[in-house]
Amino acid sequence: MKVAGSHPRHRLDELIHSPVRFSVMATLASADQAEFGFVRDLVEVSDSVLSKQVALLEEAGYVTVRKGYVGKRPRTWLALTATGREAFHRHVAVLQEIAATAVPKGER
């Protein structure tokens, strides 16, 4: 059985393709940096889910995590690395390719 094929989906980044991680990457792709709480609220996940997903992205070298303080409040800042940004752009290019080749429902 042939596993890899010519369909663009084979070029999707498995790590980014998960909905939560995709949303996190998309948020960080439009931002220079974003605060953890902002990303959590935008992606609509809990702290623990976001922490887990961010840890996976950080491990892959896609995201950097910077901890700091604003006044006495601890804040965590997330940002895409150059590798992460490149991987995300590649992933989005494949998505666009798939979307462009998809047959609209009415034309089936």
């Binding site: 999707l12 393709h17 998960s18 909905p19 939560v20 995709f22 949303s23 998309a26 948020t27 792709a29 439009s30 931002a31 220079d32 940096q33 974003a34 605060e35 709480g37 902002f38 935008l42 992606v43 604003v70 006044g71 989005v92 998505l95 666009q96 798939i98 979307a99 998809a102």
Partner: protein
């Protein structure tokens, strides 16, 4: 959770979050507006103080407090949109250059002249242009 989503849904989600980031980054426009307006007020205040040292010192302290408050407020903002990156340093450099130039002018060529506060409009221009760019996105 590890199931992917359809390409069109993913692209729509990308647009949604990009829009949210853009919207939450509008604070930078308000920051620039406040800085520009504060600059004009400060120049007007300095002229009104008419070289009375306590008044000038008081105004300078107020100005420092105002700038510090703006910076602290900026620090608290949760996101910086990436498309604003090309604007940040050039705007800061232009603001700093125009402030330096107008302070030099008001201390030399325009020293003691009425209407020196108008010079404060010059550094406010890059702020206003920056705010317009940020807020109209």
């Amino acid at each position: 959770m590890d199931e992917g989503m359809p390409a069109s849904a993913a692209l729509a989600e990308m647009d949604r979050v990009a829009q949210a980031v853009r919207h939450r980054s509008r604070w930078y426009g308000r920051f620039l507006l406040a800085l520009g307006a504060g600059t004009v007020v400060y120049y007007a205040g300095i002229e009104a103080a008419d070289r009375r040292l306590p008044a000038v010192i008081g105004l300078m302290l107020c100005w420092l407090g105002f700038v510090l408050a703006l910076v602290l407020w900026a620090e608290r903002q949760p996101v910086w949109a990436r498309d604003l990156r090309p604007w940040r340093w050039p705007l800061f450099a232009l603001y700093f250059a125009t402030v330096s130039g107008t302070v030099a002018l008001s201390a030399t060529v325009w020293a003691g002249q009425p209407g020196r506060w108008v010079l404060g409009v010059i550094p406010a221009v890059p702020c206003a242009v920056g705010a317009w760019v940020v807020l109209r996105r």
